[in-house]
């Protein structure tokens, strides 16, 4: 079956512009996660959605970052007024449920470059 998909695969933007990154989770998965992978570093948690519950936004690095999940499926991560330190690979993952021990399945990522 189809895995997690993300678009675009690459995004180059100028400093100060806004960007939107999209994630399509695996059908039927109720939990959705966003992570950021900076060069030479591990994965950093950004935000987590579980069903209709309020999202866990504790990993968002600043108020320039926001995310929404419409209809319990597709999610969009928005970065406003991008900065060079926002350059990274943004990974989306989904799992059957976030409240149990199910593994997360990752998309291929969006590589964001801020010039």
């Amino acid at each position: 079956g189809a895995g997690v998909s993300q678009s675009p695969s690459n995004k180059v933007t100028e400093k100060g512009k806004d960007v939107e990154l999209r994630c399509d989770p695996i059908s039927g998965h109720t939990a959705l996660y966003w992570y950021r992978q900076s060069l030479g570093q591990g994965l950093e948690f950004l935000i987590y959605f579980q069903g209709n519950s309020a999202p866990d936004k504790s990993g968002l690095p600043s108020d320039r970052f926001s995310a929404e999940r419409t209809g319990g499926s597709v999610s969009t991560l928005t970065i406003q007024r991008t900065q060079q330190e926002d350059s990274a690979v943004y990974l989306c993952a989904s799992s059957v449920s976030g409240t149990t021990n199910y593994e997360q399945y990752f998309g291929p990522g969006t590589r964001l470059t801020v010039t």
Binding site: F45, Y48, G107
Partner: protein, 114 residues
Amino acid sequence: AQSVAQPEDQVNVAEGNPLTVKCTYSVSGNPYLFWYVQYPNRGLQFLLKYITGDNLVKGSYGFEAEFNKSQTSFHLKKPSALVSDSALYFCAVRAHTGRRALTFGSGTRLQVQP
């Protein structure tokens, strides 16, 4: 707070030899532990997980990992390495309660030489 340490940035091993990629963790209470692999320009692929029960967990592609509670470790192992195993490996932890997101280590690059 929870954390994961992968003490080796890179592990080099000859094809056919056994390999070990080290991971130690810190978490409140009992852990859920995971290993993921990342090939170049690809997302992370799930390898195996420890939830409860048998301390030796077997996963994809012949990999296994041993959970050691007293040493808070979850080392990844394979009896005989393949060149195609060369990739970036991440260990991750999550507590049974609290935040649902995984906390990842910084990754270990495995290089298998022919």
